[in-house]
Symmetry: C2
Subunit: 236 residues, 2 copies
Amino acid sequence: MKIAVLGTGGGGRAHAARLAELGHDVYVGTRDPEATLARTEPDMMGNVPYKEWLTDHPGITLLPFGEAASAADNLVINGIDGHNALATLTAISDQLAGKVLIDYAVPYLYNPDIEHPWPTPWGVMPKLDPCDTDSLGEQIQRALPDVKVVKSFVTQEQETVVNPKAIGGGDHTMFVAGQDAGAKKAVTDLLTSYGWTDVLDVGDIVCARGMEMYAGMHSAIGLALGGHFGVKVVRR
Amino acid sequence: MKIAVLGTGGGGRAHAARLAELGHDVYVGTRDPEATLARTEPDMMGNVPYKEWLTDHPGITLLPFGEAASAADNLVINGIDGHNALATLTAISDQLAGKVLIDYAVPYLYNPDIEHPWPTPWGVMPKLDPCDTDSLGEQIQRALPDVKVVKSFVTQEQETVVNPKAIGGGDHTMFVAGQDAGAKKAVTDLLTSYGWTDVLDVGDIVCARGMEMYAGMHSAIGLALGGHFGVKVVRR
């Protein structure tokens, strides 16, 4: 399949690499491909310059956001940070129309009082905006009514999302939420190809609130354990 | 041990019954014992009148809130709903001083626009107050600096908290958070006596935010599955 990944950060790279490994044609979207390729320093998360990463991942195509979305058959993964996702996606709404958009962003509010503010340090509970009475997932769905938004991925560690078997042999749970049953099926199929065996549909896009608000608990567990964990819904 | 349970609702009853079964002396606190015993109708959750319940659970002592707290050796379980907990606990701060207070309340804001507003219907994400930048657990700890507040229980279903083996043979995870290591140890020991084998200390009372904000995800999972589930933190 032709699949688009929007964003060149660690999450986007993890998906792009895994999708290429699975034999898909991967189109990565960025604001300005020339600028992205011109960088020679690690990004603020310490990821190597994108050009260097791309050399190790041949066959992945870097395009402007809208062109990457256009190139996708059906699936577009939103790897743009929560602070910028809504504006960036709205600007390419025509190219996203009719497609499935998988959103895993957490809408952390930028905090200029913290020395290394972005992304949030483990264990410090960051402010979410929106929170509780709305969610980023719902905002994106409202802004892009012709797009089938599915909230997923966000309740598990980034490296675990694309490789669930690294934790507990893969026996833990991924959630999907959204308005469109076919879109949730497409995302579940993608997750199955990543190795997930337990994908739980928790319902409507309103459940994006629960997934985003779980971010604090996820951070607390990660800090307590030093990372490397999954969460399993145990049935009776 | 002499253990106090504040509140006569379903959660308080589950703990009182389990503690009595384990051989503890249980002191249940209520605002006005005579009024509680005078009720002849089920409460708003459909629980049978307390007097009737008490007949089936002999040996449990019903007292005013402050007297119940005074009677405890060390452990006091707060089963007062999130809307009323802070005011009620502050009023008996002298009787709670020096003791361990286990808090599992979720600070749902009363919504008069919903027909059956209290407690919140499954699957509807209720408004939390406080949320994200503060938590009820922290509010209680600040209001009662001489009390050792431990947030726990809240991420699992009520019947599972007192009987974890009913789900997945008991192989799932309970969290504790609080300032005092000894208090968390005392709560962990209590949980172990209930049957918990995996109790994870997630840190400071600030982590109460994560536990309370997890309530929406808990509701969504419960609605998707029809209840009867646990959550396990799977290590690598």
